[in-house]
Assembly symmetry: D2
Homo-oligomer: 292 residues x 4
């Protein structure tokens, strides 16, 4: 059911978090503890921000644990902002275009969870995507459609609000098709400067999501841990599942909550409230699909 | 720009036609002579009919010339009806779900050519697909959409007429978007009993398509060729490009022509005339997309 | 640490045993219960005997659970004798040439387990391979070298004895290098007519291995199970791990035992005793490596 | 038959040379003009030096022209020293471990060409590899063995001399096996500071090899070409095949010649003379293999 992590902080060699941390994301590809399944072996992806205007993507259908190229990249690329995702496919094909992160311009998007009975509502959701963006949808996962809906509903202006509208639309379309408990999961988004994360499920029992505690507290808690002493006030992690069992390192994000992480490690939480679809449909282009 | 071939006749070991024939389809993956490009290295597919109700598919993103598994399968599977396709991608990703043949129930479908400016008209075309079939579209090529449109317009009842309607719709949608020369190519279809092929381009200059001459004539022409002496009156090949330069083996299918090959080697040609879309739109479900 | 299974019996559609059996081998690729690891996602292979002189191979680096082509093949190919293997790599690369079964002529070979510190003794073992076979070793796993050693030591004449010599040699070479507990595992071999399996570990604690009970007993035990009622006296399975928990279906092969399964379901067990290497080294070609 | 290129100079975004140069190496993967084959679609590799002690590798079995990840990497990674290789396999499997560059510590190695009848002499060559390095040989190409022989014969101390000894050994072993014209090709080597290249064939007709002219001359020749005006005196390219047809840009490396390119664009040529094997065999460990 996928696992993901995001780093915003001082530039680090990516392998520090992917391979060298106890129970890091690559280990979670094989032995997830809190996911619906222990194995997340249906491809993975890494998106990182560097010096270029748009982030780089490396996506592969190989399991993360055995991909030699991922190990190379992680061992040679430094970044102060990156997202990684390991996938457990539920129905849709194992192909690179179905691997997260998805990208549009400077934006990256990851998701852990699912849209219920996606095959039933996929057509309506796809026709709610801005026609100017439609041709960019090249995979067949629910997540990619969620991302393009969010872009349609203003992700680039207000990510949290756009996701509230997107989830609202999905729940509304699902309702019309008799699909219950439409949305499940946690979502991660970035524009290269800020990081947003959402934990939400229609049924109120969302997949787990955690943020790292502020670095000062962590360093005080573990004065002898050399790894943790290197953390600065700049650094924040957002993860589906904690890397380590050390108490005090992680804060669980509450149900139905959106988190915003800014540079300098600032972190804000706010309620996440899906908004009814009708209020934000942009015009006639969307209406026909919603009527079918 | 792809190459394909289809066999309907006595059961043969598939490698006879894929690997052991001079300039067979696998050789064409590396050295096509009549295609837009000599190299068709962006994946391939093989669909064959056997004893099961539905045909088998083997599709891979590897070039056909280097795929060890294709060589194995071709050397161990016998079939009296199969289609093979080698792909040269134009824009859409190299992934198995974009490899031909496409399949629905007992039906297989291959295509050599393209829909012009597909990214511009993709949304309208997808919206014209029967909503009950929509969720089966898991790739991102033009061909897969053509196939599902043809299924929408009655492929299973009358394949030629359904393709005439499909091409008519595509030309009509393209026209509304200002896209010229909408359709280019040759198409191959089978239901496991009969084989249909179409050569057609909007601009009147379609990709090449050939059928093999009747076996009697071939055997009389080449009394000393042991391979050709094994041909029976049952056997027919349809190919984008002839396997061999021997004169008398191949008949070019004329422009704007549909071919039907039945068991016992019977072959009929008929004009292929795309029909205007308006006449066959099935109802309100299709209208909205066509209006956007 | 790999799982494998072999079928010798009436021709069956391969999916019956790979996909349709409870806790079949494909399920074991994701959820093995008795292996060193639950996940066997580093590629897989299927080798089957049909009408051609040599068996067919399908090997892929994708996990068995997600490979669309495996599902296709298994659903369309019937065979009365086949071996399947799901791999958990330990150090050597995930590539098709490292996937089991390995093949030489009519012979197929699978292995669950490992040669300890293979990197230390690999050179000496490879040097002991018959020079005429050396160029066929194209992967980098321990198992492939075991197979070519067994061919060197007479696999085609007497498989059990050849494996006893091979294991004897490996233990002897390992001893000279100070490597303890050299051999671990179960091995499966076939020539297309007979099936041999060996359970053996240097340290006396070998990976599990089971054979199916005779069909009569099984049918009497489960008179209402339609699947099991279809078993005939011809049919035998050899598996790393039972498919199902039903009591009476499986017999554990004892430690240090070789099993021979012949057509008509005949099954024999005999002690497996590795023989010292010195007795069977074939000549000067082997000597130098053994001296280093 | 492969194509390769190497850059030593100012740090550049890798895509400048791989994708944005006319007839760059990725274009050569599809349309080589001077190679034995126009298509080099059997995998590729990119090795680059950055801030870490060892170079990074990205190798893939996909054709270079269609690999989305290569495009990503090339568009986001800057390097002042990198080697790229596109492969046309001759017999050995298409797998990442057979893709160039090969790496050992800080060293990278690429090759265009072949060792004649490699399957005949592979065993002797492999047993001439330093036993301490033997376990690192994980692929099955001739080039990888050439690299490990060169390491055995002192590549890290004197690359040109080590290659002379290696080629001398190969010619000598081939001679004993009755294999004529043993070595064909061009070789590229780097330690992260200096770049070496060799053009050599036993039969005196080696694959093409070119170095870029000094930047001053190039800029004077093409004062209006903005790309070429960005070249500095630091910059040198070594390529199997020129990127562009502009006269004056490229100097052909003569037959049997070794080139050394140092930082600041200094370039030296010297004769390349394979030395007889007997003079440099290191000791008894190698002898047995050479005797077989």
């Amino acid at each position: 059911m996928c696992r993901w992590m995001a780093w915003l902080g001082q530039p680090v060699l990516i392998e520090e978090l992917l391979f060298n941390s106890p129970h890091g994301i690559v280990d979670q590809s094989l032995h997830a503890r809190m996911g619906a399944e222990p194995t997340n072996g249906d491809g993975f992806g890494l998106g990182w921000y560097g010096t270029e205007p748009t982030p780089a993507l490396y996506r592969s259908v190989a399991p993360a644990w055995s991909d030699a190229n991922l190990r190379e990249l992680a061992g040679h690329v430094e970044s102060g902002l990156f997202l990684t995702h390991v996938r457990a496919a539920i129905g849709s094909p194992v192909q690179e275009t179905n691997c997260h992160p998805f990208r549009h311009g400077r934006w990256l998007f990851v998701h852990n969870g699912f849209i219920a009975d996606f095959h039933v509502i996929r057509r309506d959701l796809m026709f709610a995507v801005d026609p100017a963006l439609f041709a960019e949808v090249t995979g067949s996962t629910d997540t990619e459609v969620v991302f393009y809906l969010a872009l349609t509903f203003g992700l680039e202006d207000d990510p949290i609000q756009a996701l509230e509208r997107t989830i609202g639309l999905i729940e509304s379309v699902a309702g019309r098709h008799g699909v219950a408990d439409a949305v499940q999961g946690s979502f991660g988004v970035s524009d290269g400067t800020t990081l947003w994360a959402v934990r939400y499920a229609t049924n109120g029992k969302a997949r787990s999501l955690f943020t790292s505690a502020d670095a000062d507290s962590v360093r005080r808690l573990y004065p002898d841990n050399h790894r943790l002493q290197r953390l600065t006030a700049e650094d924040r992690l957002v993860v589906s599942e904690p890397f380590s069992d050390l108490p005090g390192l992680w804060n669980e994000v509450p149900e139905a909550t959106a988190v915003t992480v800014r540079h300098r490690g600032e972190l804000e939480e706010q309620p996440f409230r899906p908004s009814p679809a009708d209020a934000h449909v942009k015009g006639p282009a969307l209406a026909p699909a919603l009527d079918t």
